[in-house]
Amino acid sequence: MLTYIIRRLFILPLILIGVTMLVFAMLSMLTPYERASLYVSDIPKRQGAIEDIVKKYGLDDPIHIQYWRWMVGQKDEVTGEIDGGILRGDMGFSTVGHMPVAEVIKHRLPATAELALLSAIPLIGLSVWMGIKSAVHHNKLPDQILRVLAIIGWSVPTFVLGLLLLMFFYAKLDWFPPERLSLWASQIVQSGEFTRYTQMNTIDSLLNLRFDIFLDALRHLVLPVITLSIISWAFLLRVTRSSMLDTLRQDYMTTARAKGLNERRVIKGHAVPNALIPVITVGGMTLIGLFNGVVITETIFNYPGLGKFMAASAAMLDVVSVLGMTLFSSFVLVFGNLIVDVLYGIVDPRIRLD
């Protein structure tokens, strides 16, 4: 098991470097002039202004030198120090965010993380449990109902559902408002009397023993969580059900029954561990996907997460931000993959001994 993890950890930096190369390649598809004009807001008054910028920042240097500079930073002419670079976390300046890209990501990640975790955990638990039940009661009433619900959940577009929920539960009933916190709550949160630990409202409010803020944060999360998780829920339910049906057909199930085990033990002890193997992969990837931010849901509910930032950057042609987010997303994916691989090795003993 250990060698399995270590081997994967060794490859990790290589993959990450590969990602940076890919992202940089995308950046360098713009000509030096286009890249210079990313930072220029007005038409320059002087004739050679753009060319000067190109020279100053070395935008027409050979590509591998630019890549190196992008990664490890630039030598300041005045002080002689080297600063910046991807390796130091400097992803450039975001026009949309009005701060360095890295800062924006740091700022918005907790919101997205909170949404992702709250969507993923109940959703995964619920869909897996229902998928198992569905398979065990194959073709009977619970199965039929769940299958119909899954197809509906899978088919309804996020924006339709989100808007409908918002219209009904917010506009009409005012039960579940959009955004993250009500005005009174965010005033308290931003004041000195509230200590920030994780930047996630639900966790921090509990740690500060402010249950009123906790409930307010939850209220704001209900609709985006439902909107976000319905599709993943439907998908995971179908995957679990299908995997479970497959497992129930296996010979070792008959062997287990022939040993005299009752049906509950047979299902729980013999079928479920096998059936969950593909579910872990799919569930893990779903969770990772949620961490990258979800554009539509965040836009509908005006939720200040990474998805909204990515969408705004793309709309404003803020190439630097988009590429920074791409880099970030890729890193999240690669790390998430590693975790899923390790989990897979824990659950399936056949994998870990290769």
Binding site: Q250, D251, Y252, T254, T255, A256, R257, A258, K259, G260, L261, N262, G269, H270, P273, N274, I277, V347, D348, P349, R350, L353
Partner: protein, 329 residues
């Protein structure tokens, strides 16, 4: 006088399928005595496995249903027990091993866990005691370094070794009857021989009765005392082993024995086979199920299904025709 421990009478099992109701077993009766080995022989699809799965009530109940008959184990009808009572019989009193060792063990549980599972369920022993017994069992079936092996997974064993683990698992609670459903079919020939020797030795030590299902007439000859031949969900011949091989009385049995390739056969001889295919019965047989393929067929065969009748001491056959003369009895 041998003690009868399993007495099956008139067992009938049906399956509902999209094409209709399949009559898999149509009135099967047999007895098993303490400590004896009985062989059940027949082609694929004749109902051998379904018979034994029905006795243990492991048939999935839709689409299957055991529609008639009784199966008395020590004078208790297994078909009338509650599911809970049945669970205390399975694995403890009657154990079963299956054909494919590659798929019959759970791939994500350790061998140790799978071995100790029936023991912890049926015997009141501690986990340490169960582990100790598991090691003993593995040694008994010839797996070396048994103690370390408990933590291994099935994919770390070869096919032959997995089948040994299956036997160890089946015998862990000292059952009175071991049902072996084609246990050597998926093994190499040399491994088959080793396995049969192992089973013989285990029976000598533990004294359980064995019901061995096979379609390999070669394997069963050295193992069983009595043999039963199955066709179309019915037993069509029953005899002691030597008698069956020497004097088969049913045309099907003759065909089966005749189709065995022989070491002393002529080199360029074509293999003999029985024309036609075994039937799938969508109705209970009203005529002899073998009639369409039989070379001795007479008119009565198509009108009425013969019952098993004794034609020699301990030798029963279900046939209207005397194959020595080719005429009706």
């Amino acid at each position: 006088m041998q003690k009868k421990i399993l007495d099956v009478k008139g067992l009938e099992t049906r399956f509902r399928t999209d094409e209709g109701v399949v009559h898999a077993i149509n009135g099967v009766s047999f007895e098993v005595n303490e400590g004896e080995t009985v062989g059940i022989v027949g082609e694929s699809g004749c109902g051998k496995s379904v018979t034994m799965l029905s006795v243990l009530r492991l048939i999935p109940m839709p689409p299957g249903v055991i529609s008639a008959g009784s199966a008395e184990f020590y004078e208790q009808d297994l078909l009338k027990l509650s599911e809970k009572e049945m669970q205390s019989v399975r694995g403890a009193q009657i154990a079963m091993i299956f054909q494919d060792p590659m798929t019959s063990l759970n791939p994500v549980l350790t061998i140790g866990k799978q071995l100790t599972e029936p023991m912890l369920l049926h015997l009141s022993i501690s986990e340490e005691e169960a582990d100790r017994r598991a090691v003993e069992l593995l040694e008994m079936v010839g797996i070396s370094e048994a103690e370390g092996r408990l933590k291994d997974y099935p994919h770390q064993f070869s096919g032959g070794m997995r089948q040994r683990v299956m036997i160890a698992m089946a015998l862990s609670c000292n059952p009175k009857v071991l049902i072996a459903d084609e246990p050597t079919t998926a093994l190499d020939v040399t491994i088959q021989a080793q396995f049969v020797d192992l089973v013989k030795r285990l029976q000598a030590d533990l004294g359980m009765a064995i019901i061995w299902i096979t379609h390999d007439l070669g394997v069963i000859a050295g193992l069983a005392q009595r043999m039963m031949v199955m066709y179309g969900g019915l037993f069509i011949e029953e005899a002691d082993v030597k008698e069956l091989y020497a004097n088969p009385q049913h045309p099907y049995t003759v065909g089966l024995l005749g189709s065995l390739p022989r070491l002393d056969g002529k080199h360029a001889e074509r293999l003999v086979s029985i024309d036609g295919l075994p039937p799938v019965l969508y109705a209970p047989p009203t005529s002899c199920p073998f009639a369409p393929r039989c070379e001795f067929v007479v008119e009565k065969c198509l009108e009425e299904n013969p019952a098993l009748e004794e034609v020699a001491p301990n030798h029963k056959v279900a046939c209207w025709v005397d194959i020595a003369t080719g005429r009706m009895k």
